[in-house]
């Protein structure tokens, strides 16, 4: 186990470096100049700005300088579009918002999704299963902005049951978390239905039934623990994509998260900010996958790492 973790961590360093390199050169290859706005200052001012962000000595120099700054000082420097905030300030302020929203969405997706999946498997071919199949199909195929706007119209505009957006109270969290959860809920429902079906038809479940255990006990004690390993494996990538994919939800519900900052940083060609956010996301993804691999090994003795 120790050896596995160590080698994975070493691999991660290479992955992070590759992501940094690819992001940096892609940013350099995209057209647009971060310092040219609507009003043009004198050339000396533009030159000073390029110098401040270390972009005056050529791209390769900037590639090395940024990399060194990150490794040696753990610092991404100041942002371009929010001049009074460093990249770390921005991440420190916005990431918790996205994480809080994402965590709640994952919780909803996890519990409702697994419950629905198990229900579908148990009642295979009967009406709960059909409702579930149609529901998951809708959940997977409807884009977030349709679900989000629909919920917004229904609960905030027409009935004023919930606030239309913003950040700060639990009430404001309900609509966006549910919107964000829908896609993952649908995936998890399908996933857990399939793996439950797999487990239900296996020998040990038949034995358990034969011993006279009640159907509830069979499901809870024998089926669910084995079926949820597939769900657990899905959580790693899901965490990463729920964090990076919350942009649209954040926009619809006016949530000050990292998703919106990230998209705007790309549009503004804010090189330090894009690099910083991409690297933070990369580290999160790598760590989540590692954690999930360890968790799977602990949950299922058949998995050897």
């Amino acid at each position: 186990m120790k050896k596995f973790i160590l080698s994975r961590l070493l691999q991660s360093v290479v992955v992070v470096w590759l992501v940094y390199t690819a992001t940096f050169w892609l940013l350099m290859a995209t057209p647009g100049d971060p310092f040219i706005g609507k009003k043009q200052p004198p050339p000396a001012v533009l030159a000073a700005l390029r110098q401040r962000y270390g972009l005056d000595k050529g791209d390769f120099h900037a590639y090395l300088a940024y990399g060194w700054q990150i490794i040696a000082h753990g610092d991404f420097g100041p942002t371009i579009s929010y001049a009074n905030w460093t990249v770390l300030d921005v991440i420190r302020n916005s990431l918790p918002v996205s994480v809080a929203l994402g965590a709640l969405a994952l919780l909803i997706a996890l519990w409702l999704g697994v419950a629905a999946g198990v229900l579908g498997a148990v009642y295979r071919g009967r009406w709960p299963d059909i409702v579930l199949t149609v529901g998951t199909l809708l959940g997977i195929s409807l884009p977030t902005f349709v679900i989000g706007s629909g919920l917004l119209m229904l609960f905030a505009v027409e009935t004023s049951l919930l606030p239309s957006g913003g950040w700060g109270t639990l009430k404001q969290l309900i609509l966006p978390a549910f919107t964000l959860a829908v896609l993952f809920l649908a995936y998890l429902a399908r996933l857990s239905r399939a793996s439950t079906l797999d487990v239900i038809s296996s020998d040990f479940v038949r034995t358990a039934r034969a011993k006279g255990l009640s159907p509830m006990k069979v499901i809870a004690g024998h089926v669910l623990p084995n079926a949820s390993i597939a769900v657990l494996a899905f959580l790693g990538p899901a965490t990463a994509s729920i964090l990076t994919g919350s942009f649209i939800v954040e926009k619809i519900f006016a949530i000050p998260g990292l998703g919106e900052v990230f998209v705007n940083a790309c549009l503004d060609k804010d090189i330090p900010l894009v690099l910083g956010i991409v690297l933070v996301y990369t580290v999160l993804l790598v760590l989540m996958n590692l954690l999930v691999d360890i968790a799977c090994a602990m949950a299922d003795p058949r998995i050897r790492i």
């Binding site: 057209p31 647009g32 100049d33 971060p34 706005g37 609507k38 009003k39 043009q40 200052p41 004198p42 000396a44 001012v45 000073a48 700005l49 401040r52 579009s81 929010y82 001049a83 009074n84 905030w85 460093t86 300030d89 921005v90 916005s94 990431l95 918790p96 809080a100 965590a103 709640l104 919780l107 996890l110 519990w111 917004l152 905030a156 606030p163 239309s164 957006g165 913003g166 950040w167 700060g168 109270t169 009430k171 404001q172 809870a220 669910l224 623990p225 949820s228 390993i229 769900v231 657990l232 954040e250 926009k251 619809i252 006016a254 000050p256 919106e260 900052v261 549009l267 060609k269 949950a299």
Partner: protein, 565 residues
Amino acid sequence: MRQTLLIPSLVLFIVGSICFYISTPHQQGRDAINFCEAGQIHTLDPDKMTWMQDIRVAMGLWEGLAQYNPQTLEPIPGVAKSWKISDDGLTYTFFLRHNARWSNGQMVTTADFIFAWKRILQPSTAAGYVTMLFHIAGARAYFNSLAAHPLKHLPFSSVGIKASGPYKLVVTLAHPCGYFLSLMAFPPFFPLNPAAMAHFRAAAHGGVPVQYDPRWTRPPHLISDGPYRLAAWKFHQYLELRPNRYYWDRRAVKCAALYIRNFPDAQSAFLAYQSGAVDVLSFVPTRFAPALLRQQREHIRDDVHYRPVFGSYYFNVNCRHKPLNNPLIRRALDMAIDKRAIVKDILRLPDRPLEVLVPPESIPGYKSPHGLPMNISAAKELLIKAGYPGGRDLPVFKFLTNSGAAMNIRIAQAIAEMWRKNLGVRISIHEEESKIFNQDVVHGNYDIARAGWYGDYMDPTTWLDLFRTGNPNNLTGFSNAQLNALLHKASYQTSAVKRFALLHQAEKLLVTRWMPSIPLFQYSDGLMYNPQRIGGISTNVRMITLLKYIHWIHHPAPQTAEAPQ
């Protein structure tokens, strides 16, 4: 093994709760006013700001030698209680009031102004509006010498800024400037507190100029001398402004707390306004504007405050490219556009079509010339005269517009159709992201491009200078000795009447003969707030809402003020 799902759920719950706790704002008081800005605050460094929302907040935090009269925008005494202007219009003597104080209680003195002005004149400060200081004698030369030789530059004493004691400041100009006093109320001329910034100073060494860590603008470090102080700034959420108790005009500030907010898009901002989470919206959302204005006309609502502003929408024509370097073609293009139809059918707003560059009736004393009216047969004749009868042999022009506003592409399509039908001129429309669009326009990589401009000060030159040779904002590449001479002559004219006559002549030539830009319409914009509840909001053409005067008229019912956002 039952923990398979329980453990991850527990982890998610704990992590989520902690993140939620640290990211939520603290509860605001019931008397706070929530002011929603049109965009994100980019910087609170008054030397570097160019965005309207930044400038509006800065005017609430700081005060210059002068401040604006909220209705007329005339300069009235600010930190300076009075001033004297010499007869030749070149020397301004400011007398600072003895009770002007910073938000930490220190006195505001001439040293604070000199510190700030010296800082903005360093090229390394990278101030977007540094050229505004070039009216001061020696300022341009000082800036240029610093840019050219950081180690061997002109001394600051060569700039016409002299203090005589802590309360008397003498400024010498390079040439008379009729609007110099009103610039004293604009952020690049605000004083800065050197003591508060000293902590963030990185020393100059070996050609590396003095720099300040930009975090000096964050609370509690930011010390300002205006109506408010910055109590809190939560990134991407809000700024909290509270009255500066040391402000000399403290009695005029009646709002106990002001929250500056911003939403990722106009729709969510409007929803927040409708639900009462926001009290003032600093814009009227374009998508809903026609319907909102109709309701206002029918007296269904009275909270839309919409008016023409000091900004215009126009097309830049690239005067460097053949055949558009021929003014006859540019004039033909202008005369073949039905600007009234653009405003009425595409914008569906009461904006005014424009034939001139400077929005008419905005500047007191300045009379706008008459531009070219729409005249298709005359436009056709101009094309014949230019050697392209019926638009034959003309290339397909590359038309550039920026994405982000649906209106831009609709206007471009409508005008493309007018040009095709009326003149036989064809364009290909290219829509680009703002950053790419700006870069292409600055590098002259276009034939015709959409443009918009908001005047920075109440003078025709804020538009006319756009066509002066050598101005970095001259995007059309237009260069004309006669225009340069007229502008130069006007800048040395002390009589306001004669000066405006010269500028009138320059604008007339620009819009009737040279036509480097094709004016389309004057922008309108507005605010939304309930006039029975909120008072002290000034309406003026420059959209400068002075936060100083905002206050409650009728205090809100508790339920509207309880939840932040």
